[in-house]
């Protein structure tokens, strides 16, 4: 491929960083080398991981997305996905799928003339495929082009939040913003996407990834690679190809095993489902405890009611109420009381669910099954915990009850 060493920059203990020219590749790269026991230098094999992430949260996975992501967060022992690798990967994938590279830093402040944003902007370094992969639309101006990436142009796209903050009514396209000491020309504004999980998706600024590296440097960073198949049917094949290509890029042999991870939308959904399961189990345990407490509460209320109405019970018995009649009367009251709680719970759930849905920008579904379960369980609680008080009431001696003060 024409790679050749241009020079050793750092020698640090048993490790060295080697600057490599990739020939056709547009960049010089740092390679880590290590001296082994025999004194020979060898390149430290990058162990990476690939992750798929759901980009099309709302479109129902029409364009399934595969995403290679930063290993530092969860797989610190795996090597970074290097820019060089990402470029080769993209090259090798060719037309099979839409590949985009993403790297980002949060907590940035963006300036324009006297204005500046809060230091909570996410600065994304990416390429021409980013917008499609993450379903952003350009509201004004133009998207990032492959030329922008190739020539590391000082251009950027800004999210709606930033446009409003810095330009308000002024034309943003053509303006200049500064971020971490670098000036970038605004080439386009993004259509608002609202917020997801309480996080605004419009508080971002995107620049060509090559430009981004000029700002923050390249070492110690891992690139997320997002692979988007053109249809759900091709997803499986594209996934296979993704893994194969990544192995090729890293020079991994089949017996080496993968030193990267891939995640698909499906597996993201699975992870999400697992998390949801945990939440459901947790909610179940908490509910069970709450129900027990509520049940004891119902029992207490009913016992007080029986005591307060002792004379009434005596009177009812003197008028011909049977034991069974009194028992069912008080049981019914306990169940009614519990059902009131159950219905209040459902209303509370509807209100809370809608609020949360609004906050998280998620669709709200009324869980008929759970609501039914709620009513059934509440009736059960009412019956179970109302039984003892009702039995007490029905067993009262009529004369004692009538004489009760």
């Amino acid at each position: 491929m024409g790679d050749h060493c241009v020079g050793v920059i750092v020698v640090e203990g048993e490790q060295a960083a080697v600057v490599v020219d990739h020939g056709e590749d547009r960049d010089w790269n740092f390679h880590r080398h290590r001296r082994d026991d025999s004194g020979e230098w060898s390149a430290v094999e990058d162990q990476g991981r690939i992750e798929y992430a759901g980009g099309e949260q709302s479109a129902g996975f029409k364009f399934p997305i595969v995403n290679f992501s930063d290993p530092r967060e969860r797989f610190g022992n795996r090597p970074d996905v290097r820019y060089r690798q990402a470029l080769r990967f993209k090259d090798l994938m060719g037309d099979a799928a839409r590949v985009s590279m993403i790297t980002s830093r949060g907590g940035r402040r963006v300036y324009h003339e006297q204005e500046h944003t809060n230091p909570n902007v996410r600065f994304v370094g990416t390429d021409e495929n980013y917008l499609t992969s993450y379903s952003y639309e350009v509201a004004a101006g133009r998207p990032i082009s492959s030329d922008d990436v190739d020539f590391a142009r000082s251009v950027c796209l800004i999210g709606e939040d930033i446009r409003k903050k810095l330009f308000s009514s002024k034309e943003a396209v053509g303006g200049t913003v500064r971020i971490d000491g670098n000036s970038l020309t605004v080439i386009g504004g993004l259509e608002s996407k609202g917020s997801s999980f309480g996080q605004s998706q419009d508080n971002i600024i995107g620049a060509p990834i090559s430009r981004w590296f000029n700002v923050y440097g390249r070492s110690g960073r891992s690139i997320s690679i997002n692979v988007q198949a053109s249809s759900a049917e091709e997803m499986e094949a594209v996934h296979e190809q993704t893994i194969g290509t990544m192995c090729l890029v890293r020079g991994l042999l089949p017996e080496d095993g993968n030193n990267f991870n891939t995640t698909t939308n499906d597996s993201v959904m699975k992870t999400f489902d697992q998390a949801l399961n945990t939440v459901v189990i947790g909610a179940f345990v908490i509910s069970a405890i709450a129900l027990l407490v509520a049940g004891v509460g119902v029992m207490n209320i009913m016992l007080v009611s029986v005591t307060e109405r002792t004379r009434e019970i005596g009177s009812r018995k003197s008028l011909g109420a049977r034991k069974k009649t009194i028992l069912s009367q008080f049981l019914l009251e306990a169940v009614t009381l519990s059902l009131f709680g159950g219905i209040a719970g459902i209303l509370f759930g509807i209100v809370g669910g809608n609020l949360a849905g609004q906050l998280l920008n998620a669709a709200v579904v009324f869980p008929v099954g759970w609501a039914t379960a709620d009513l059934v369980v509440c009736s059960g609680i009412g019956t179970t915990f109302g039984l003892y008080p009702a039995w007490e009431a029905s067993s009262l001696d009529p004369i004692e009850a009538l004489r009760y003060e």
Binding site: E312, S315, K317, S318, L319, G320, R322, K323, T325
Partner: protein, 238 residues
């Protein structure tokens, strides 16, 4: 002398003990009496002589410590809860000194209650409750709650409730005790009326004026029958 009706209440050697810690109270020490259908009987005696205890026993609300109670030929001690409840519901109507009305229900709903326990359908229930209220002269007070009625009217609601299931026997424990003389007289007229219609009336009182209406007077003292005599001063049968 009139031919006595069928024997409905037959008690023999009934005693009732109340244990209050180490102290034992003999409320009844061995009472024996027979009551036939369409009797009009007053139980008299000083306070604490056992009148209420006896009435509660007759009403099937209390059980004797010893002795027998046959109601219409059946041993009450052998009866189940359901059988006893049915007797209280259909055979005996109890009127207490305290009316025991449901405060938040109107007169009709109060009177309906025994019919609910008798399993009568809702529309029939209402009709019969209204009829019973009319019979005690409360036709214009049907939708009033107890706190919107006078003492005499409340007692009449309680009597209507006791009568609504058409029991043959009416047990009244000091029915005029909480009422002034005038309303007391009204209640007595009502009883006279019921007696004339063939009901059996057993009432407790400590007022000679009230007892005068009865055809038979039983006097209790310290849990024993002191006297059991025909009331010669009773008004003529209408």
């Amino acid at each position: 002398m009139r031919d006595p009706g069928e024997l409905v209440i037959d008690i023999a050697d009934v005693t009732k003990l109340y244990r209050m810690g180490s102290e034992v109270v003999h409320a009844l020490r061995g009472v024996t009496m027979k009551i036939h259908r369409n009797a009009y009987l007053a139980v008299m005696g000083p306070s604490g002589s056992g009148k209420s205890t006896l009435m509660n026993m007759l009403g099937g609300l209390d059980t004797p410590t010893a002795g027998y109670y046959d109601f219409a030929g059946e041993d009450v001690a052998e009866m189940s809860d359901a059988e006893l409840a049915d007797i209280r519901n259909r055979e005996i109507g109890c009127v207490f000194q305290s009316f025991n009305l449901r405060p938040r229900s109107n007169a009709i709903h109060n009177v309906e209650l025994p019919l609910i326990y008798a399993g009568v359908r809702a529309n029939v229930r209402k009709e019969r409750a209204m009829e019973a209220l009319e019979n005690v002269g409360l036709g214009d007070r049907m939708h009033h709650r107890p706190n919107e009625l006078s003492g005499g009217q409340r007692q009449r609601v309680a009597i209507a409730r006791a009568l609504v299931n058409r029991p043959s026997i009416i047990l009244a424990d000091e029915p005029t005790g909480a009422l002034d003389t005038k309303t007391g007289v009204e209640i007595m007229e009502l009883f006279e009326d019921l007696y004339a219609k063939g009901n059996t009336i057993i009432m407790v009182t400590h007022e000679e004026d009230v007892a005068r209406h009865a055809r038979r007077i039983v006097r209790l003292r310290d849990g024993l029958i002191e006297a059991d005599e025909t009331n010669l001063d009773a008004p003529p049968r209408t």
